[in-house]
């Protein structure tokens, strides 16, 4: 498979979950694990351009596919507008749900560059955040929508430490 644009391969047990392959084999620990029942969404990554819960995908099923994780959001040292939005609007507290939320947000904005609050809430409704009460996640995604130049690239704005 390719992960964040790089070809990777490995011999794995048939039962190995994609989330464990990413975290344990590739040491991409930005993808989290939070439940046994596909309810929490802390494990969301993209597979062939679509957000999936990587706890519900076998690593073997991802063979030959294109995976994108939170580590692949930043491009050439430039944070994605979604990442900037989460910082600017305080869209995270403990940070555990954040990678999954941001990947869903990026997908949403790619398909709907100017989503309404309701559309944002629907997009992230399969993912749980225990810290933020969702309000600032919604605001963060709106911020990203308003501060993108249409093709997902960030407007020039200095954010972050």
């Amino acid at each position: 498979m390719t992960v964040n644009g790089e070809a990777v391969s490995g011999e794995v047990e048939p039962r190995l979950l994609l989330v464990h392959f990413l975290r344990d084999n590739l040491r991409l620990t930005g993808t989290h694990w939070g439940c046994d029942t596909s309810n929490c969404g802390t494990c969301v990554v993209w597979m062939d351009g679509v957000p999936v819960k990587s706890c519900t995908v076998l690593a073997a099923m991802a063979s030959g596919r294109d995976i994108r994780t939170v580590e692949g959001l930043e491009v050439n040292g430039e944070l994605d507008p979604v990442q900037k939005g989460f910082i600017e609007m305080h869209g995270l507290q403990c940070g555990f749900c954040t990678p999954g939320m941001m990947l869903t947000a990026r997908w949403l904005l790619d398909h709907n560059p100017d989503p309404s609050e309701t559309e944002i809430r629907e997009a992230i409704s399969g993912q749980i955040c225990r810290c933020t009460g969702y309000e600032n996640i919604v605001r963060a995604i709106r911020w990203a929508a308003e501060n993108s130049n249409g093709n997902g690239a960030a407007m020039k704005e200095e954010v972050g430490a």
Binding site: L28, D36, C40, Q93, F96, R130, C131, G133
Partner: protein, 792 residues
């Protein structure tokens, strides 16, 4: 008290984006499960399928024969190390691994250490345990029946499931008030068992260095220092050879205060195998075995005059503590701060009696954004006030306004002995009503009722009780609840602050830098915060009960003030004048009347480390520390209004609006405070409408996964409307009060009051949380159910 004047950008209090976010948005956080050490092994816990059963035998031979298994640990092995039982946080004991019998479903029975986590799980299947099933005690109300099975047979001579009786207030005076009252309303209510369920479950990596004897424990703990001392006390490990390291934590909410068997097992595993051992629980283990919260069966009784002057309140509580008493309460207060239940009102008398019992359920009770039972207290008083309003046919806002404590009554001594530090209650309620458009909402409701639509408006006014606490009253297992802080200014004027408390998302790396900056004038960006590592931080009891800002924040403020004071003496030496001739202008000591002659904190810091001859008795460098023993608790408060719509056909509740006015004193970082309030409001909606750890009659846990234990999503949560008033604490050095749990404490009664207000046309007076469609439907039919058990 701080003066909240406008500050130069990047200094002191105000909206500053968080330092910690830079790593989190890049997926570069460092949580326990992200830690990998050379040669690390993986542990997994075998758990009991029964709520109550004798262990007849355990056969581990097949598991031990598994090629990837390195160790199998049972209770019998732990007994040889005197580690089968460890002290609980409430003067009881808990079993690390069951030896004699299992006492709740999900209890730890054996521990496997293997080369990878899949193999460890496989090996659990190979362990053969023979149980003899015993009758479980599931219903707390039956726990003291003479024929109830005795759960704690491990306690010598124990013949029942009784834990404690405790009361507070003046019972006789309360009875006298009830005698003269025009109106008395009584109500039974349950605050169901709920679970904090942080997105990251609990886990640890234990690493015993067999050569140096140093044990490092990376752990999901909110209280690293308390953990280290307890490990030292329990296992006899020398405390200087113990390092507890709490890395990034994926939410705590009280779930990560206690010491769980899994942590101890990882340690034992590492000692036995001489290799690092990681243990991370799965979600069902988290929900079924770690600290729950609440589980309070309450009977409230409120007395008033017929024109709505509330006279007194009495509450009798049956507290279900599960199989071991493992709540984390100060020794003096087995029911925590429940006796703040007289709330925000001017009562003549109040009394509460709490009885604790054992049942065959998971132990805990420490948790869910309010470790000290204030949540239950606020719920009962706010429900009782609404019940009274219903009885008197008064508007609940009017009734509250009439009885709220008035500003001139502060500091106010409550009927149970609390001294509320400061408050302007009517102002907060007025603001919330204005933001909500309260009287317009009432009009809208009347119109809708006439059309058969169900709309409800619920109010809650809460007084929080945080910042535990003064050493003379409060301890955890004998450890006083003071916190240390060290501030060091480097020669070039940058600083490091070391804290005893630990963030789980609250943003301490930013807010504590802001506290130091506020006092010293050093820019926030130039202050590094060190926390979560017992080798590199001063002792203190950790982050829970919203105590970081009131206790540790005060320590940071006092240490920073000591820096400024010392800087004055050094500046005087530099300027060859008397310290009395200097005045402080944020970040700089300057000569009174000649502001051009002065030294910045950076210049002073350099001089403090340089060759300057310092005045007699003054040591070099620019460091200070403080151990802060708070003189009193702080009492944040707030007024919340919730608007709901109930579908008359499906009984589904929709929270349409939620208005929250919080007063937590001055705000270090308004953005972070607001975020904390949002999170707490979502918790409140979850508890009021969705969350419950219920049991069937065999003691099977019915809330053991996120499919069964429902957490609120972005769809159930409205867009929160927040407001603030500012009433500083008179005893905190910066006037701060703490806010982390306010919204979790204050919001559930607002939601429940709103739903019951909507159901008024059906004559419904009360229904217990969670107000699921099924529960609301039954209430509409006049037959609400018990929500803690699957039996009617």
């Amino acid at each position: 008290m701080t003066d909240l004047q406008q500050r130069p950008d990047g200094v002191g209090f105000g909206r500053v984006i968080r330092k910690e976010d830079a790593r989190f948005v890049r997926g570069k956080g460092n949580y326990v499960d992200d830690i990998v050490l050379p040669g690390m092994l993986f542990g997994a816990v075998l758990r009991s399928p029964y709520a109550h059963a004798k262990i007849v035998s355990i056969d581990t031979s097949a598991a031990e024969a598994h090629p990837k298994v390195k160790a199998v640990i049972t209770g019998a092995l732990l007994e040889t190390l005197s580690l089968a039982w460890i002290p609980s946080l409430s003067h009881d004991v808990i079993a690390v691994l069951a030896t004699d019998k299992v006492r709740y479903q999900g209890q730890e029975v054996a521990f496997v250490v293997a080369e990878d986590k899949y193999a460890a799980r496989d090996a659990l299947e190979l362990i053969d345990v023979e149980y003899e099933v015993l009758a479980p005690v599931v219903d707390a109300k039956r726990a003291l029946d003479p024929d109830a099975a005795v759960i704690r047979t491990d306690i010598e001579g124990k013949k029942d499931n009784y834990i404690f009786d405790w009361g507070s207030g003046d019972e006789d005076a309360t009875e006298a008030v009830f005698k003269k009252a025009d109106v008395i309303v009584e109500q039974d209510m349950l605050y169901p068992r709920v679970h904090p369920a942080p997105m990251e479950t609990c886990g640890a990596v234990a690493d015993m260095d067999p050569i140096s004897g140093k044990l490092t424990i990376y752990c999901t703990t909110q209280a690293p220092h308390a953990h280290r001392t307890l490990y030292a006390l329990v296992a006899g490990l020398p405390e200087h050879k113990l390092r507890v390291f709490s890395p990034d934590i994926g939410g705590g909410f009280g779930n990560k205060v206690g010491i769980y068997p899994g942590y101890v097992l990882a340690v034992v595993g590492s000692i036995l195998t001489k290799r690092p051992v990681k243990w991370v629980e799965d979600r069902s283990e988290n929900l079924m075995s770690t600290s729950f919260a609440r589980d309070y069966h309450m009977h409230g009784k409120i007395a008033a005059t017929k024109d709505g002057k509330i006279l007194g309140l009495r509450v009798d509580v049956l507290a279900d503590h599960g199989a071991f008493n493992n709540t984390a309460q100060p020794t003096k207060f087995p029911a925590g701060f429940f006796h703040v239940f007289s709330g925000s009102y001017d009562l003549e008398a109040a009394y509460c009696a709490v009885k604790g019992v054992y049942t065959n359920k998971a132990p805990g009770g420490v948790a869910y954004a309010c470790s000290f039972r204030v949540t239950e207290a606020v719920y009962v008083v706010e429900r009782m006030v609404d019940r009274l309003a219903l009885e008197l046919d008064m508007d609940p806002a009017d009734l509250r306004m009439k009885n709220l404590l008035r500003p001139e009554q502060f500091p106010y001594t409550s009927p149970t002995g609390w001294e509320y530090d400061s408050g302007e209650y009517p102002r907060a309620l007025e603001l919330a009503m204005k933001m909500a458009g309260y009287w317009d909402l009432r009009k809208e409701q009347a119109e809708k009722r006439a059309r058969g639509e169900l709309m409800g408006i619920g109010i809650s006014f809460f007084t929080e009780t945080v910042g535990a606490g003064p050493k003379k009253h409060m301890d955890i297992l004998g450890l006083g609840m003071a916190d240390g802080c060290e501030v060091r200014v480097h020669p070039t004027g940058k600083a490091v602050v070391r804290l005893s408390v630990q963030t789980q998302g609250q943003g301490h790396e930013t807010t504590f830098a802001q506290i130091v900056s506020e006092v010293t004038g050093i820019p926030v960006a130039d202050v590094e915060v060190v926390h979560g590592d017992t080798d590199n931080t001063p002792f203190g009891l950790g982050t829970y009960g919203s105590r970081s800002t009131p206790v540790s924040g005060a320590a940071a403020a006092v240490a920073s003030k000591r820096i400024v004071d010392k800087a004055r003496l050094i500046a005087a030496a530099m300027l060859e004048c008397s310290p009395d001739d200097l005045e402080w202008e944020l970040g700089r000591w300057q000569v009174k009347g000649d502001p051009s002659a002065g030294k910045t904190i950076a210049e002073i810091a350099f001089a403090a480390h340089a060759t300057l001859e310092l005045p007699e008795g003054l040591e070099g460098h620019l460091d200070a520390s403080c151990v802060y023993d708070p003189p009193n608790l702080t009492f944040p408060f707030g007024a919340y209004i919730c608007v709901v719509d109930v579908d008359p056909g499906t009984a589904k509740v929709t929270v349409r609006r939620f208005i929250a006015v919080d007063d937590c004193g001055p705000r270090i970082n308004p953005m972070i405070v607001e975020g904390q309030v949002h999170g707490g409001l979502a918790d409140g909606v979850g508890m009021a409408l969705m969350e419950s750890i219920a049991f069937d009659e065999d003691g099977n846990c019915l809330g053991g996964s996120l499919m069964d234990y429902l957490l609120p999503t972005s769809i159930e949560c409205p867009s929160w409307e927040t407001g603030e008033t500012v009433t500083p604490s008179p005893h905190h050095p910066l006037g701060l009060k703490g806010v982390g749990e306010s919204a979790t404490v204050g919001s559930p009664p607002a939601v429940v009051n709103a739903v019951l207000d909507a159901l008024k046309p059906f004559g419904v007076k009360h229904a217990d949380m969670p107000l699921t469609p099924a529960q609301v439907w039954r209430a509409m039919q006049g037959r609400p159910m018990r929500t803690d058990m699957a039996i009617q």
